[in-house]
């Protein structure tokens, strides 16, 4: 079955991919801007490549420079298909706009409680929602 969760906002293009769950990441330092591989050792996503995945975290960490890293990932095709967070911040939002990365934020709590790495996720701009497919 498909579980649908409302988001406060989804922007970018509709996207679908395999979920990659992480603890909050800081683009500067925690993500390699060339390869899109997660470098943060304390993250469950450590060593994983972001491309093709839907990155799920509660929020993103870090300084202004994070915007440039997200932009770089987008330019290199190393960015995730979409990023899904509970709490947005200006660095994440501006980075996703400039990098052309789909972002969903303010997603219903329930999503974060049931989602696991490996589940197929659809992020929809038209319905402003995030769905878990084949739950």
């Amino acid at each position: 079955m498909t579980l649908v969760f409302k988001a406060r906002r989804v922007f970018g293009k509709d996207a679908e991919g395999v979920a990659l769950i992480s603890t909050p990441l800081s683009p500067l330092g925690d993500i390699d801007p060339e390869s899109g591989v997660v470098k943060a050792r304390d993250s469950p996503a450590y060593g994983e490549r972001l491309a093709g995945r839907v990155l799920v975290m509660r929020y993103m960490k870090g300084s202004t420079v994070g915007t440039y890293v997200l932009y770089a990932l987008g330019r290199r095709g190393a960015a995730p298909r979409a990023i899904v967070v509970e709490r947005p911040d200006p660095v994440l939002v501006s980075g996703c706009v400039l990098g052309g990365i789909t972002l969903a934020y303010g997603v219903e709590q329930g999503f974060f409680e049931v989602v696991r790495s490996g589940m197929r996720i659809r992020v929809s701009v038209s319905t402003q929602s995030v769905s878990i497919l084949d739950f």
Partner: protein, 390 residues
């Protein structure tokens, strides 16, 4: 979000791709921050100018914006660059760093950014009380809100540039009076006399405040403190917290009204004697003495010059002073720069040691009067720092 007709046209691309992109960034960020509208600004200040901070990706983004024809619509200034472009230091860096740093400056100037390159943009154009701004650079934001009574959030470096291009920012955070209400009361017991103690005070205020603090002074009022000490204090608050603003009794425009409508959830007392003891426990020396974080203004430069002449800094291999091109020129006209050069001082003009990888200059240990530099230099450059005032 409600947009004016003109803003809608910007967002539709009717005025070009750069403006469309800038508006898209601002509208999306604004939405996320709960803004219901945009607010026109009189001055944007951009951070993220050092090549060591933004790297090749930063250069790429600026190139893309320039290619799209990005031009600022309001007075826009920028933070200092790294020391790779400062004439006194340029030859100590590899050509690649100099070229890349130069490219960043060129790109910003091509967009109409004012030849500023300082973290104290208020000496170039002083915002009036009530003006709305979009400034990045936390120390300047704190000064604008807390001393000048202007309205600005701590914008991200890129977002501030977008705001300069669009001539507006999103109306959220401390652009709205309800978010300027003090929630923490801080009482300062004792008199703050020196810039370095003021910096330590700022670190404490930042660390202990859960919301915007109202700071009461039992000893010397901040209105009677030298402005350099107030700058140090505010820069340190910005280092130790994400606060955009502090209400300083006797200084912040409208401080009585802020006190009346304050809604305190916590209260703290800071004893100056504890800060003095903390400073007294600082051990070690530095190879290099670094001052000018934030950039020195002309008065501070004059004060420093007298101390250098008196031999206060003898014993350091080098003394580096960071300041804006404007103040440097004024210092040259007054003969201060020449006098200091003869005494071995070097100038980081339009540049910043904090956003420079100091190991490239052969530095392993620095001494500084700035609590902000003291906090950041070890993290960014991996060299040790010790606090020593003047």
């Amino acid at each position: 979000m409600h947009l004016t007709r003109e803003e809608e046209r910007f967002l539709n691309g009717e005025h070009g791709e750069a403006l469309r992109l800038a508006m898209e960034v601002l509208v999306r960020v604004g939405e996320a921050m709960g803004a219901e509208s945009m607010v026109p600004i009189s001055h944007a200040h951009v951070s993220g100018v050092s090549y060591f901070s933004i790297g090749d990706y930063g250069v790429e983004l600026l190139e893309e914006l320039a290619l799209k024809g990005a031009k600022v619509r309001v007075f826009t200034t920028a933070n200092p660059s790294s020391m790779a472009l400062a004439p006194d230091f340029m030859d100590r860096f590899g050509a690649r760093y100099v070229e890349k740093q130069h490219r960043i400056i060129e790109l910003l100037l091509s967009m109409g950014v004012h030849e500023s390159f300082t973290c104290i943009p208020y000496i170039l154009r002083t915002p009036r009380q009530g003006e709305h701004l979009a400034w990045a650079e936390s120390s300047a934001v704190l000064y604008a809100n807390s001393v000048l009574g202007a309205y600005t959030n701590r914008e991200g470096g890129v977002v501030a540039l977008m705001a300069g291009i669009a001539g507006r920012t999103y109306m959220a955070g401390v652009h709205l009076r309800e978010f300027r209400v003090p929630r923490t009361l801080v009482r300062v017991a004792g008199s703050v006399k020196s810039r370095v103690i003021a910096g330590l005070l700022g670190l404490r205020i930042g660390a202990m405040s859960s919301g915007i603090p109202f700071v009461e002074f039992r000893g010397v009022s901040p209105a009677d403190m030298p402005i350099g000490a107030v700058k140090q204090m505010l820069a340190a608050v910005g280092t130790a917290s994400d606060l955009p603003m502090v209400v300083l009794e006797g200084v912040t425009p409208g401080y009585r009204e802020y006190r009346r409508c304050a809604d305190f959830v916590d209260r703290h007392t800071i004893r100056v004697e504890e800060l003095v003891s903390e400073l007294g426990r600082e051990e070690g020396r530095g190879d290099v003495y670094i001052t000018g974080c934030p950039h020195l203004d002309l008065e501070e430069l004059k004060e420093l010059a007298e101390l250098v002449v008196r031999g206060v800094f003898d014993g350091y291999k080098e003394i580096w002073v960071a300041l804006s091109p404007k103040v440097y020129r004024l210092g040259e006209e007054l003969g201060i720069v020449q006098k200091l050069r003869e005494l071995g001082v070097r100038f980081a003009v339009g540049a910043c040691p904090v956003v420079t990888k100091l190991r490239l200059l052969g530095v392993e240990a620095v001494a500084t009067d700035s609590a902000k530099a003291y906090s950041y230099i070890p993290k960014i450059s991996g060299v040790t720092a010790v606090l020593r005032g003047w």
